[in-house]
């Protein structure tokens, strides 16, 4: 055995090899992503961008503009709240359909077994589709039906978060202690009764806390959705950006950061109370 003093990293060879391999795999992706730092330095781009950034200070605080920002902020909060309320209305029935621990046909042979299975499958597909399409895509699609404005945003949040909530609700209901619900079902109670008396008491805290967390996410998302015309702060920011009005953009950005911080702390306080 070689006991010479090693002043080099014994694992160096493997590390270098791994890094090279990784780089070789990733190299083409740089190409596909059109990675080109020089683009930022072309005179046209550079000038426009630095001009725009230099306008960020001072932020615009004209009374007229502030009034608009205030209205948009209120709208953003309302969008998130209304959206989550609708999402819950969508998610609760869906999650009750797909929750295994409430399945009567799982207890044993039952009439209507096939129909129940079909309903469960359809509900799962609907949930997959609802949360598989990002909220901003929903917003873009809905804007074409309901026109520009917060209504499309509310519905987009309702659909996407309805799917997410339904999935997580059913997961929570399945990981809770399900023996009480099972006992109720075996004694012949209906699914609703088994849910209300067997599952809900144990799971309500977790369900509520997750819903509040999603509300916080919805506040964040409702800002972004404005970029496709779905109302709120995002729409205002989009307009200011298109006009290259840096002062307005930085003011909106500050309000947005404050709003997210506020939503964060509200959700934290509520979730602490629930825990």
């Amino acid at each position: 055995m070689d006991t010479r003093f090693q002043d080099r990293d014994p694992a160096a060879k493997g590390r270098v090899l791994k890094a090279c391999l990784l780089l070789a795999i990733l190299w083409p992706t740089f190409d596909v992503a059109q990675f080109n730092v020089a683009l930022a330095m072309t005179p046209g781009n550079f000038e426009v961008f630095t001009n725009f950034l230099s306008q960020f200070f001072p932020p615009s605080f004209q009374p007229d503009f502030l009034k608009m920002v205030l209205k948009a902020t209120l709208e953003t909060l309302a969008m998130a709240t209304a959206g989550i309320a609708l999402a819950m209305a969508i998610a609760i029935p869906l999650s009750l359909i797909i929750t295994h621990s409430l399945s009567i046909s799982r207890l044993g042979p039952a009439s209507g077994h096939r129909a129940a299975q079909l309903a469960r499958y359809l509900a799962r597909m609907a949930i997959l589709l609802m949360r598989g399409i990002p909220e901003i895509v929903w917003a873009l699609l809905l804007v074409r039906v309901f026109g520009l404005g917060p209504i499309s945003g509310v519905l987009a949040i309702a659909v996407t978060y309805g799917g997410m909530l339904a999935k997580v609700y059913s997961e929570i209901l399945e990981t809770e202690n399900t023996r009480a619900a099972r006992a109720l079902l075996m004694l012949g109670s209906g699914r609703t009764a088994a849910f209300l008396y067997g599952l809900l008491p144990g799971a309500s805290q977790e369900l509520a806390s997750y819903t509040v967390y999603r509300w916080e996410c919805a506040v964040r998302a409702s800002v972004v959705m404005g970029f496709v015309g779905a109302g709120g702060l995002g729409q205002l920011m989009d307009q200011s950006m298109k006009m290259l009005n840096g002062g307005e953009v930085s003011a909106i950005l500050m309000v947005f950061l404050a709003l997210v911080f506020l939503a964060d702390s509200i959700s934290l306080v509520i979730r602490r109370q629930l825990a």
Partner: protein
């Protein structure tokens, strides 16, 4: 149970419930939206007509080729952005963990918080201004936001890890950089890698929509086709998005489950 469950009159619960209910109602008033209006015959008919325009999806070979290019581009944007962000975060994590003094730590944390709290889409608009339309803008935007997230996670990992290996190397005469590279990083490596992979998963999802502001990938194709009222093409792109998002979701769930099994 010997004693009946207390079903006392709970004033606080009722008040809380009423407060939440009134806030929800107020929200609907603010956005002037009556959800019941969705269920009128006219509205339902409009929606059905609109949905019908998305069928059948355009499955011609040339369009599928275009969509697959977008798919590859989306994937590339997310991969490159995550890699760049991970590299940046490694450098930012050292000051963020307070290894270069308290003042630098506060400054770095503030910078990271800023990077993190500006949404990806806003970064994308800014980057489109800076480097022009195309996937490069999306890559930069994702990288900046992700650097904020990963920088904080890496910094926290660096701050809270077991320092004995680091200390042993330092006491044996290694420099700070050597102790970091050979003492700390090997211990933290797998954790940092799992953070990075987790962010990559989220970035793939994000990269699909950055194109809405012109930053490349599937989103750009979707936005373009929808602006031209090509709903059939749009529905193909949406299908590709769902496949990508759900596929990544399932893959990562599978991997996570396997890892949990192997860890016992």
């Amino acid at each position: 149970m010997t004693k009946a469950v207390s079903r006392d009159f709970c004033l606080k619960c009722i008040l809380t419930f009423l407060l939440i209910l009134s806030l929800v109602v107020a929200s609907f008033v603010v956005v002037s939206f009556n959800p019941l209006a969705l269920f009128t015959l006219e509205a339902l008919g409009d929606m059905a007509l609109y949905i019908a325009r998305f069928f059948p999806p355009d499955l011609s070979v040339e369009f599928l080729l275009k969509v697959s290019t977008g798919l590859v581009q989306t994937f590339a944007i997310s991969a490159v952005a995550t890699l760049l962000a991970a590299l940046m975060s490694l450098f930012l994590a050292v000051p963020a963990a307070g290894q270069m003094g308290q003042g630098v730590k506060v400054l770095t944390r503030f910078f990271l918080n800023f990077l993190r709290s500006v949404p990806e889409l806003v970064w994308a608009v800014l980057m489109v201004l800076a480097v022009g339309l195309g996937p490069f803008a999306g890559t930069l935007a994702l990288a900046l936001h992700t650097a904020g997230v990963l920088g904080r996670l890496f910094g926290e990992a660096l701050e809270n890890h077991d320092p004995s290996a680091h200390l042993a190397l330092r006491l044996a005469g290694a420099s700070k950089a050597q102790a970091l590279l050979y003492g700390t990083l090997p211990i933290l490596g797998s954790r940092l890698l799992s953070y990075t992979l987790y962010r990559w998963e989220m970035n793939i999802r994000m990269a699909t929509i950055l194109g809405f502001v012109g930053a490349g990938g599937l989103g750009q194709i979707l936005y373009y086709e929808l602006s031209l009222l090509h709903e059939q093409q749009a529905s193909t792109v949406i299908m590709a998005m769902v496949v990508l998002v759900v596929g990544v979701d399932m893959l990562s769930n599978q991997l996570r489950r396997e890892q949990m099994h192997s860890m016992g």
